[in-house]
């Protein structure tokens, strides 16, 4: 079992859970309170379990570009992109955010459970002149409509100058830290990387500034409301970006990349199933593995589901056979002994006010 460098900040205040080999906070003040804080003010998450991989070397961007479907060849320093690593069959090895520092240095932030797999994959597919270094610093996420204002109280640098999916370094009373305007909640917010002692000081200062500590339970509800995929549930190596609703990540004109021919063939043939959003009535949650049915036949399965606190209704992601995927299609979800109605909707269940 691994413990976050921020463990000491909350070990007596959180209900804990095991996740991807780490002991992490599941809940602090309660789901409703934490969710409300992120949607209306600001919440603080320990995301130190996420994998951090540094890639350095000349031509690092040419090599990395060949392993993802998104055109990142000319990603400017200070910017980041969401994309996926694909295998030769077009299956998703992991989803990640790639950050450009300069022409010879990229950072990848990946899923905790996939860190070792990704590092091995990169070693296998990048030439020896690209140095691959997994690092483990403290990672904090500050998310919510007041995240920028509250985080700004701790740095003299102007955060407003960093756009969504931008990143850079800023000063704090405890030293310089790396910040990115990214997140997994559907709100404006920041992810901050710091040495362990600095991360601890930042955690305490952010809590003192009024940011609400939040756990993994709230994080899962928030990301699902925002229609954000969870690797290992909503996608894995057996599905392609075209099936997973991530076709927008594929830049067909960028030139060759690993998995491109498989994706082209699938595109020509048409996908047989797609990840769709479902919304139900009542309060019962559509949980992973529950069958999705149409005309008495099973046509799909739930991959993630929760009761949306923002909408007050059950929401879910499911892989569903293609004739049943258009928006507005009426389906049922088998919730134990009951078949409950569900409607296909856009996967972005919740969008923040602009």
């Amino acid at each position: 079992m691994r413990y976050s460098p921020l463990w000491t900040c909350y070990q007596n205040e959180a209900k804990l859970t095991e996740f991807a080999g780490w002991m992490l906070p599941a809940q602090f003040g309660g789901l409703t309170l934490e969710h409300e804080a992120v949607r209306h003010r600001a919440g603080l998450f320990d995301i130190s379990h996420m994998g951090q991989i540094e890639l350095q070397g000349s031509a690092v961007w040419e090599y990395l570009n060949a392993l993802v479907p998104t055109d990142i060849l000319h990603l400017p320093p200070g910017q980041a992109r969401y994309t996926v690593l694909l295998n030769a069959a077009g299956g998703i090895i992991d989803d990640l955010i790639v950050y450009a520092h300069d022409r010879e240095h990229a950072t990848l932030i990946v899923n905790a459970a996939c860190t070792a797999k990704n590092a091995a994959w990169l070693r296998q597919h990048l030439p020896p002149e690209v140095a691959i270094e997994p690092v483990s610093q403290a990672l904090l996420a500050v998310q919510g409509p007041q995240a920028t204002a509250l985080w700004q109280t701790l740095t003299p640098d102007t955060l407003a100058g960093i756009p969504r999916f931008g990143h850079g370094t800023v000063s704090t009373p405890w030293g310089r830290v790396w910040v990115a305007r990214t997140g997994y909640t559907g709100e404006d917010g920041w992810e901050i990387r710091a040495a362990p002692a600095v991360g601890q000081a930042l955690w305490r200062a952010l809590v003192a500034a009024g940011v609400t500590p939040c756990g993994l339970v709230a994080r899962d509800v928030l990301r699902l409301e925002a229609g954000l995929h969870l690797y290992g549930q909503d996608m894995d190596e057996t599905v392609t970006p075209l099936e997973a609703g991530l076709g927008w990540l594929v830049d067909w004109d960028k030139g060759d990349f690993l998995g491109r021919s498989a994706l082209l063939a699938q595109k020509a043939q048409g996908v047989a199933r797609k990840l769709v959003g479902l919304v139900g009535t009542g309060r019962r949650i559509f949980r992973p593995g529950y069958p999705v049915q149409a005309q008495g036949q099973t046509v799909g399965r739930i991959t993630s589901g929760t009761l949306s606190l923002s909408l007050g209704r059950p929401i879910a992601l499911a892989y569903v056979a293609v004739p049943w995927t258009p928006l507005g299609t009426s389906l049922t979800v088998q919730v134990r002994e009951q078949a409950l109605p569900a409607t296909v909707v856009k996967r972005t269940f919740y969008s923040r006010r602009a």
Binding site: K15, A26, L31, V217, V221, G282, R283, R284, I285, R336
Partner: protein, 128 residues
């Protein structure tokens, strides 16, 4: 916050409690169960008049984290159900031994009570 287990109640290994009253018994779930489930989002309760054997599924609770069945801690007939919880399941968490009661039962095998756990035994089991 320390979880409490009132000494006058009877407990099951599956986290239900029985509180004896003048005219029967009140059944609910323990503070430990509430803490484990987290915010409760859905409650399904039986109909008044239904007869249960000890150990039969009496109802279902759901939270964002989990689905939990509630089992009849003793055999009996349901004389009342706490309907208000259906629209306000969060009321269980605030007061599981009071305002959070689930059903009232008329016991048909009162001797079964002797097989339930004391507060101390239950607390030892859940590591309280």
């Amino acid at each position: 916050m320390a979880l409490t287990y009132p000494p006058e109640l009877h407990y099951t290994a599956t986290h239900e409690y029985v509180a004896l009253t003048d005219d029967g018994a009140v059944v609910g779930i323990t503070a430990f169960a509430v803490e484990e489930l987290g915010d409760i989002t859905y409650v399904e309760l039986p109909q008044v008049g239904r007869r249960f054997n000890r150990g039969e599924r009496l109802g279902t609770l759901e939270s964002v984290k989990a689905v939990a069945d509630v089992y009849a801690p003793v055999s009996g007939v349901v004389t009342a159900v706490h309907e208000a919880l259906v629209d306000a399941p969060e009321r269980i968490a605030g007061d599981p031994y009071g305002e959070g009661w689930l059903v009232k039962m008329q016991l048909t095998q009162p001797e079964e009570l002797q097989e339930l756990l004391t507060a101390a035994a239950y607390q030892a089991q859940v590591g309280g």
